[in-house]
């Protein structure tokens, strides 16, 4: 078996004490990041990339550390969903629907255990799915030429815009904004400066890490100052944690279905974990025998979305690693990490750097076991950390963002640029313009243009070449469908409202 020998290679690297330590730290920090409202997997990982890079970690160590943070944040998001009725991150939103009612009935401990086990279940199966599927997909990806890659990028932008936002025009605007920003700097083909306005700092283009930390982390500062108090709810007391074996047995089916749906949603470019948990919850609600209790504290309603979002997190790694096209905000951040480490994801990654891929997969398996232990018996530690007041937390997060960019680039110009992106992110959030397409545009812009121009070189300037192969026609069709279909589907798929909380000092 190819996979087993590859996996053995991966474990031989990942089982060193140093890597295990990094995985442990990553899981711990990740769970905290996930649990803290306002910090999710994408801005958590974004904050840590510049720091781990400045620490001089090698590629494998940095990958292990940050993917552990990624998985950890996916686990941690549920803690504040259940205890505070505030989703710790966006994918954990659906967990509030039944998790918080369960907690109000005095079953907070049960809800945490069930969701923890569901997270483990979803993430573990998705990692195995990644292991089986990624090598297959990377073989298909060898067939891709520049025209196909161009179509693939279009697909990613279209589905991201179509599925992830309520207004197609705003999503497309965001993507174009990102692509436009990516054009700044020296043109790769001709070596001519573009949009630099004679500013030396802009010659190398805008560092995508500066944009990511600004859009994802600094914008949170402005949002928080504006909304402070509104988001603080009265927490639910957590009693002794016991394992509710009966509920675990009963929710087994919900976890399995949630995992399947979430994994598929994760693989789709542009969809990601939020959609995974949403679909998993809605599907479970329509098939479950216990459906009358959904929204009132049904254990299935906690298990399905948690399995779904963790499975989607694993699924999202498939297109990211094999094609270099991220499926969500967080995988976009992970793509930024790979590019910073000089690793180009794509089919060649599997043949040229099997040690990187397989040690990453092994690390994910190890991280999962660690996370199960941290999130079930040790969950109280994280509950305590949740009580860090926001007036300490938020300045802390801001300073970490600055330190990261400062130690990475050492320039005030980049820090000011980061603040500017923070303001842009805040305005976008106000106007309902999604920021993930901006990031994706900045990340993929140069590759997208490059592939377009190479395709035109191959075809001698004939634009019909873009639609000349079966694969590219399929991708274009999917792109158009992914952009247009949600306009009609949106009427049928309404998000259920979050249960009401008693909160104090509304202003």
């Amino acid at each position: 078996m190819d996979i087993l020998s590859n996996l053995a290679l991966g474990f031989s690297i990942a089982l060193s004490p140093w890597t295990l330590m990094l995985a442990f730290v990553g899981c711990f920090v990740g769970t905290i990041i996930g649990a803290l409202p306002g910090l999710g997997p994408s801005n958590g990982v974004a904050l840590l990339i510049p720091i781990s890079f400045s620490m001089g970690l090698d590629a494998i160590s940095a990958l292990v550390l940050l993917t552990s943070v990624y998985y950890g944040a996916m686990y941690g998001g549920r803690i504040s969903s259940i205890l505070l009725n505030i989703p710790g991150d966006e994918p954990a939103m659906m967990t509030t629907l039944d998790g918080y009612p369960m907690a109000k009935q005095g079953r907070a401990g049960d809800a945490l255990v069930i969701s923890g086990v569901a997270s483990f279940y979803g993430a573990l199966l998705a990692t195995i799915g990644l292991m089986l599927l990624a090598p297959l997909l990377s073989r298909v990806a060898f067939e891709f030429g520049p025209a196909e890659y161009f179509a693939l990028y279009m697909l990613a932008f279209c589905t991201l815009g179509g599925v992830g936002s309520n207004n197609q025009a705003k999503a497309a605007l965001a993507a174009a904004l990102g692509l436009g920003i990516a054009m700044i700097g020296l043109d790769q083909t001709t070596g001519m400066p573009r949009f630099t306005f004679g500013e030396l700092h802009l010659m190398d283009g805008i560092d995508f890490l500066v944009a990511i930390v600004g859009l994802f982390a600094v914008s949170e500062v402005f949002h928080f100052i504006e909304s402070h108090g509104k988001d603080s709810a009265i927490g639910v007391k957590l009693g002794r944690i016991t394992i509710p074996w009966r509920d675990l047995g009963r929710t087994h089916g919900a976890m399995a279905r949630g995992t399947g749906i979430g994994f598929l949603a994760g693989i789709l470019p542009g969809a990601g974990a939020s959609l995974g948990s949403f679909l998993a919850y809605m599907a479970e609600k329509s098939v479950s025998r216990n459906r009358a209790n959904f929204g009132k504290g049904a254990p299935e309603g906690v298990a399905a979305p948690e399995a779904g979002n963790n499975a989607a997190a694993g699924g999202a790694l498939v297109p990211m690693l094999t094609l270099g096209v991220p499926g969500s905000g967080t995988t976009a951040v992970l793509l930024a990490l790979l590019l910073t480490l000089n690793i180009t994801p794509g089919p060649l990654l599997f043949t040229e750097k099997p040690d990187v891929v397989w040690s990453l997969i092994a690390a994910l398996l190890i991280a999962n076991v660690m996370l199960l232990i941290m999130n079930v018996p040790m969950v109280k530690v994280f509950v305590r950390i949740l009580s860090v007041p926001s007036w300490v937390l938020l300045p802390g997060v801001t300073m970490v963002a600055f330190v990261g960019i400062y130690s990475l680039t050492g320039s005030s110009f980049d820090m000011l640029l980061m603040v500017a992106f923070g303001v842009l992110g805040w305005i976008c959030r106000k106007l309902g313009i999604p920021t993930v397409p901006i990031i994706l545009g900045i990340l993929l812009g140069n590759a997208m243009e490059d592939n377009l121009r190479r395709a035109m070189v191959l075809s001698n300037g004939d634009w019909t070449y873009l639609f000349s192969s079966g694969i590219s026609i399929g991708l274009w069709t999917a792109a158009v469908l992914g952009f247009v279909a949600p306009m009609f589907l949106r009427r049928f798929l309404k998000k259920p409202p979050i249960p009401a909380t008693e909160s104090y000092d509304r202003d």
């Binding site: 720091i51 400045s54 620490m55 025009a169 705003k170 497309a172 605007l173 993507a175 174009a176 904004l177 692509l179 436009g180 054009m183 043109d187 083909t189 001709t190 001519m192 400066p193 573009r194 949009f195 306005f197 600094v218 500062v221 402005f222 928080f224 100052i225 504006e226 007041p389 926001s390 007036w391 300490v392 938020l394 300045p395 802390g396 801001t398 300073m399 970490v400 600055f402 330190v403 400062y406 130690s407 005030s412 820090m415 000011l416 980061m418 603040v419 923070g422 303001v423 805040w426 305005i427 106000k430 106007l431 309902g432 313009i433 997208m448 377009l452 121009r453 035109m456 001698n460 300037g461």
Partner: protein, 145 residues
């Protein structure tokens, strides 16, 4: 309503400026059939079309902060800009203490906890980043020793 319209209009102006700037991109003698200008034109076209949609069919307005809150956010912005400009010359600890204390005070207006949070974060983060993680930070302004 108004916010979408304003944003759309600003974006159209920016996109037109972008096109203008793209027209001045030099092409070298070795080039490809597409050249360095076409893709920026395409991007600008998408921006203009989407912005027109925003201007003509705006979404209902988000609730914008009251003038006082806007002032507060402006102040936070000023703190961040000031921080970005001083951290190089002043070393890490002093600007961090000040900036985090001010931000903390904005979230929860109590002077003593805010000052303590600033001090704790300034010193604590320095120890974490410099001593534990080994990043190259300078604690205090050069020449103080």
């Amino acid at each position: 309503m108004a916010a979408d319209r304003i944003f759309g209009a600003v974006m159209i102006v920016l996109a037109l400026g972008y096109v203008l700037s793209a027209m001045n991109i030099q092409t070298s003698f070795i080039s490809d059939p597409v050249g360095p200008r076409v893709f920026p034109y395409m991007v600008a076209a998408v921006v203009i079309v989407c912005s027109l949609v925003m201007v003509l069919k705006p979404d209902p307005d988000a609730d914008w902060p009251a003038p006082l809150m806007l002032l507060k956010i402006g102040a936070a912005l000023a703190v961040l800009i000031g921080y970005a400009l001083t951290i190089r010359a002043m070393g890490f600890i002093i600007p961090t203490v000040i900036a985090s204390a001010v931000l903390s005070y904005m979230i929860s207006p109590r002077a003593v906890p805010a000052a303590l949070a600033g001090l704790g974060l300034g010193v604590g983060l320095y120890v974490l980043f410099k001593v534990v993680l080994g990043l190259g930070l300078v604690a205090l302004p050069r020449g103080w020793f």
